[in-house]
């Protein structure tokens, strides 16, 4: 069963409420310096920011709750995802979350961050670019290899010799 937009938004508001309560009850008191006796407390602005978030999330939840209780029909733009509406969403990027797509892109990125520390920039970057191109649907192996080699080499040269910044991870050409 597909979640409607209104349900998804309600879950998001609930998560925000939970996050705000966690911040107010735990994170801000513990990870904020004690009041030094002058000026404003270090916790003041974080509390204000979190309170604004909490108030808005509660207000939005209350609004959805009241509409639902009174069985008032919600406008179609608030109820449905733009991709399901006639004519699509225009410039809006609002829509369903595509978790398999996210995983396909994010996992190679996370692996790159981890691998680069062990196998070095050159090998990790080459492997990352090959995997990424495969993940987005490229099956032209020669093109993928050429793009990976050129991009890895260009950024290596730009960083190492252009800006004098060491590339991340073990330096295999040093």
């Amino acid at each position: 069963m597909q979640v409607t937009r209104i349900k998804r938004d309600s879950i998001a508001y609930l998560l925000i409420v939970g996050f705000c309560i966690l911040m107010l009850a735990w994170a801000i008191p513990i990870y904020t310096p004690a009041y030094p006796g002058y000026g404003a407390s270090a916790a003041l602005v974080p509390i204000v920011a979190v309170s604004v978030m909490l108030f808005m999330a509660c207000l939005s939840l209350m609004f959805i709750g009241v509409s639902s209780y009174l069985k008032k029909p919600m406008p179609v733009e608030e109820r449905e995802f733009p991709e399901d509406l006639e004519g699509g969403g225009g410039f809006t990027q609002v829509g369903r979350i595509n978790l398999p797509h996210l995983a396909r892109i994010m996992i190679p990125c996370v692996l790159l961050v981890v691998a680069i520390e062990y196998i070095g920039y050159v090998l990790a970057s080459f492997a990352f670019l090959m995997i990424l191109q495969y993940a987005i649907g490229s099956r032209k192996w020669l093109q993928s290899i050429v793009v990976s080699i050129i991009l890895t080499a260009v950024l290596y040269i730009v960083m190492r010799y252009g800006f004098g910044v060491p590339v991340p991870g073990p330096q295999i050409f040093e």
Binding site: P33, P36, G39, L102, I136, V147
Partner: protein, 513 residues
């Protein structure tokens, strides 16, 4: 006077000229690629500017932004894929002209309108920013605090259909912006014992993640269902009348162009409205006042002149609130503010006092960027048209890898790459759930300054709760901030009620068959 001459001489130094030229050229090229816009280009290239002098860096980024604004017209005219909302109105008349084989002529109109709008706007900026900044110098911490509060409330409405979600995003941005060392006690705050967070989160990885990486995640999602992207059907006619824009024809549109520039300047100078509003307003006005209303949307050069002059004049005029008050009016200005801060300067009225030579150098670069845009656009038009044809399979891995290495470059730290990925992930969810990443980013950038102003108010007033009542300007600004929130809520409440009433009618009609 000496400062002015020295600043202008700085702006024509070989290094400044070279990077300005490169910035404009790269900006046009990047802007021509559907889906990549000015702020995203600035986010990607800010790490490189670490290694430049402040003037070269700001000049390069300004050139990049100006170039990208015109570049957006290339894909709008050739593909009807504006990529950015501000170029949408350009596509309405640009694409029909392309279909008639007059794409080159449409692009020339877009170029000349962009350059003219941008140049007029730059002149207005130069004339009014310094005097306004001199007035703004009289503002104390209370006024600055109130002004930032006002800016945050105005900006909360950008990039989302709900002010509530905008305020939540701004609040989250402020919270994230406060991570790091607290200014009064100099002790870590909200760092969760992660030592890398001690100096706070850098703007570069956060901006790259939110602006560029999350955008690519979304574009890849759309691309996965489409195949290897759209390609332009631009077959340029070889007839001179279809290729070139005679001066007479250009001057026929001069009124529209000037009107568009004025609209763009007005809209750009007001925080929160942005280039799309200017572009649509100008197009609408041009259509209403034209004797050929029926030809709009079918390939009328006037429509292109209206849209492009307005959206390009926003680039310079959006720097007015930044230079005068230190408040970024839109995302590109926010990114430039970040660049100023990276180079150790705080945008605001003091800039003219403390870095006068640099400011006049920036003015010189702004004017030169307009000229470079004209020259580069004039001679490289056909080359830039090729940018829209770069295969997505090659483009996206390049942009994604550049995001990763760009995040690393700032501090040579893989931790920043992790931060970029986290904010790319957050940005993806924010866009999908309709939370304004613009409000988040501006909240993130303004949070330290907002807190600093608040601390100063509290310390100076010795905890006097009624401090604001003694400062009429601050009180007025705070009242305006509450008014903006109230009015926005009231408007959305009224609109919501109307839509709900329509929904009831629709439901009843559906029930009755």
């Amino acid at each position: 006077m000496e400062m002015i001459i020295a600043g202008l001489l700085d702006s024509i130094s070989p290094a400044s000229l070279m990077f300005l030229l490169v910035g404009v050229a790269v900006g046009v090229m990047i802007g021509a690629i559907p889906g990549i816009n000015g702020p995203m280009a600035i986010a990607l290239f800010i790490p490189i500017t670490y290694y430049m002098t402040p003037l070269t860096a700001i000049g390069f980024l300004v050139g990049l932004n100006k170039g990208a604004f015109f570049g957006g017209a290339v894909s709008a005219v050739l593909l009807r894929t504006p990529g950015t909302p501000e170029a949408a109105a350009t596509s309405w008349d640009g694409y029909p002209l392309t279909q008639q084989g007059k794409g080159e002529k449409a692009l020339r109109m877009a170029l000349y309108s962009s350059v003219a709008g941008d140049f007029i706007s730059t002149m207005v900026l130069i004339v009014i920013a310094a005097p306004l900044a001199a007035v703004a110098l009289f503002m104390g911490p209370s006024e600055i605090f109130a002004l930032i509060s006002l800016a945050l409330t105005v900006i909360a409405g950008i990039g989302t259909s709900s002010i509530g979600r905008g305020l939540m995003a701004a609040g989250f941005g402020i919270l994230v912006g406060l991570i790091g060392t607290e200014p009064v006690t100099a002790l870590p705050r909200l760092t969760f014992d992660v030592y890398q967070l001690g100096s706070g989160l850098s703007l570069i990885p956060v901006a790259i993640g939110l602006l560029a990486f999350s955008e690519i995640l979304l574009q890849l999602e759309r691309f996965a269902g489409k195949g290897d992207g759209e390609h332009s059907a631009h077959v340029f006619s070889s007839k001179p009348e279809d290729r070139f824009l005679p001066i007479k024809e250009f001057f026929k549109n001069i009124k529209t162009l000037l009107r568009g520039s004025m609209i763009g300047i007005g809209v750009g100078a007001m925080p929160g409205l942005g280039a799309p509003v200017a572009s649509f307003m100008s197009y609408d006005q041009a259509m209403k006042r034209s004797e050929h209303k029926d030809e709009f949307g079918k390939g009328r050069l006037e429509g292109i002149a209206a849209s492009e002059s307005a959206n390009s004049s926003v680039v310079a005029s959006s720097l007015i609130p930044l230079f005068v008050l230190g408040i970024p009016g839109n995302l590109a200005a926010a990114m430039l503010m970040g660049a100023f801060m990276i180079h150790g300067m705080q945008p605001g009225p003091l800039l003219f006092k403390e870095n006068a030579q640099l400011m006049y150098g920036i003015y010189g670069s702004l004017v030169l960027a307009s000229l470079f845009l004209l020259v580069i656009g004039r001679f490289g038009l056909r080359l830039f048209c090729k940018a829209v044809d770069i295969p997505a399979m090659i483009l996206y891995p390049i942009v994604m890898f550049t995001c990763i290495m760009g995040a690393y470059l700032g501090k040579s730290s893989m931790f920043d790459v992790g931060v970029m990925l986290v904010f790319g992930f957050i940005g993806y969810f924010m866009r999908k759930f309709d939370y304004s990443y613009v409000a988040f980013l501006i909240g993130f950038i303004l949070a330290p300054e907002w807190e600093r102003a608040l601390q100063q108010v509290v310390i100076i007033s010795e905890h006097d709760t009624f401090m604001f009542f003694q400062r009429p300007v601050a009180m007025g600004l705070m009242a305006l901030a509450f008014f903006v929130i109230g009015r926005t809520f009231w408007t959305s409440f009224k609109e919501g009620r109307k839509k709900r009433a329509e929904a009831v009618v629709a439901e009843e009609q559906a029930k009755n068959g």
